[in-house]
Symmetry: C2
């Protein structure tokens, strides 16, 4: 994200105020600004941040074909029928279209962090860390401060970044479908570790009960996600059957989500602290890179990086040199 | 990666010397050290770095079921039959086992960057950026300096991080299999953008020729990967049919790889510069975080991060505060 000039700051604050007041056009513009890492976004996010932190952020992830989008649509429909407001952020980092679907209205976005060379170039040119997770969290902050109560973050659960994005939510739902192929099985264990709730969708298919039983057995075997610290894992994830196409199981899933939200808000706030840390480090990294690509530092920075590419300087020495030059 | 104490530096330099001299046990230990981000690794990598830069790094990525591992095995067998040495780094960030297969000998590694909370905790505890790409590049550096001529980096091409890892290579091969499902089709465009060579594996299956034709048509439509700078894309990727199980097409693929290597080494070194940049930024970020988690800074850092988690401070203000405190 670029440093904001005064007119960008003013524009960002204006959009933030409008979005927080319920102006949907301003909200859509702000989301686009966040996605494009426009200089307007930083000012808006700073303005909105104190009003965020009230929404329930729910990550929904699962392999292709597990019916994520259908389930997300069913959940949002039910939430809205209950008079609450819901929004969806759909993330597909491997696709050229990283889509934000807001109230069922899909908005095409620029894909900005798909491949390493684009990423690197963007970092250099725009002080961009390429953190898909941080862009998603920023979009969630905008929606949160604009008064949305439930924010669903939908990702294809096949890669590390998607798992990271989903795990950045307050509550993470992992979706499976009955009778998936072998390589998908292999992916499951990693996904299950981030799950707060596991859903077997397409619950009317043969094998659904058996898949649920297998998943329960796998969950018994999995270590708590807290790893090596003393953060308590509240409880083993529930395993639930849904049929998103008919709506079966969707009310039960919503009830589980609300229960988990209550636990999160009263108990540990590990997800919120982790999310805050990730945001701060991403921004600090951006700022550092930007400083080193500033007019004043640019030639030295470029020479240092080229020396590493040529194997004349090792990357550790280069990092130390750049950090010393950053001041 | 932790800062090396003198005994770690000595041990790292010793292992580096042994690995470079052809000691396979030392090499395996060094790879484990890199994967575990042991304090020995930094010293070893610094020692080895000037001797690296000679190997051909080839990323091989594709969706589950496209036959990556079989093709990798066939390529390595052929390379070794020609008296050259080859190594494979197999990366699966979404699986609990991130495996490095060296000369066919699969070594279990710790999965260290699978989920965000692990990542964050590791960063805090060990100054870890969680860059799967940077760990892979470090492993490749060790193999390169140890005299391997062809280093294959195998990733499941379904997520952003895997694409990044593959795209960090000198040459990127994207694998497809005939007649994949719909969602896999959607993934293809993003993958194709990083391809230097496109391989339709399982070339003996019905539909293989049609898939190859479709891919050629898609490649015509795709913009050059250089994006907004003036780095020339050497040429449109070749599309090749292989049948890894029988070895059909494998010699042709190897010839294409060698030709691409020649082009890369004489022409633009964009991949090498991008790789160097990514390494340096990852290390600089590590160093910065480590500095801010040092004894001297720790209480202030933790208070700042908690204030962001509680929405009392916005993450931009927090990043600026931490950067000011880092000196």
């Amino acid at each position: 994200m670029r440093e904001a000039a005064p007119e960008h700051t003013a524009r960002g604050q204006e959009l933030a105020g409008q979005a927080a007041a319920g102006d949907r056009r301003a909200l859509a513009r702000l989301l686009t600004a966040v996605e494009n890492r426009s200089p307007v976004a930083e000012a808006a996010l700073r303005e909105l941040y104190p009003n965020a932190g009230r929404a329930h952020l729910v990550g929904i992830t699962g392999p292709p074909g597990s019916g994520k989008s259908t389930l997300v649509a069913a959940l949002i429909a039910r939430v809205r029928a209950a008079g609450r407001s819901g929004a969806v952020i759909a993330v597909d980092p491997s696709s050229p279209i990283t889509g934000a679907a807001l109230l069922g209205d899909r908005v095409r976005m620029q894909a900005y962090a798909r491949v390493l060379d684009v990423l690197i170039r963007s970092m250099a040119a725009r002080g961009h860390t390429g953190g898909l997770a941080s862009a998603t969290v920023a979009a969630a902050t905008v929606l949160d401060a604009s008064g949305f109560d439930l924010i669903l973050i939908e990702t294809v659960g096949t890669g590390q970044s998607e798992v990271e994005v989903a795990a950045a939510a307050d509550t993470t739902v992992v979706l499976e479908a009955p009778e998936m192929g072998d390589e998908v099985q292999a992916i499951k264990a990693g996904l299950l570790e981030v799950a707060d709730i596991v859903v077997v969708n397409k619950g009317d298919r043969p094998g659904a009960q058996r898949t649920a039983a297998q998943l329960r057995a796998m969950l018994v075997a999995i270590a708590p996600r807290s790893g090596d610290d003393d953060r308590p894992r509240p409880k083993r994830p529930d395993v639930l059957l849904t049929t998103a196409t008919t709506g079966d199981g969707v009310p039960e899933l919503l009830a589980l989500l609300d229960r988990h939200r209550g636990r999160e808000h009263t108990g540990n706030d590990g997800a919120r602290l982790a999310r805050a840390e990730a945001q701060v480090w991403a921004i600090a990294g951006d700022r550092l890179r930007r400083r080193l690509h500033d007019e004043r530092h640019r030639p030295a920075t470029e020479a240092t990086l080229q020396a590493v590419a040529d194997h004349r300087l090792d990357p550790y020495a280069a990092a130390d040199r750049l950090l010393a030059e950053a001041d």
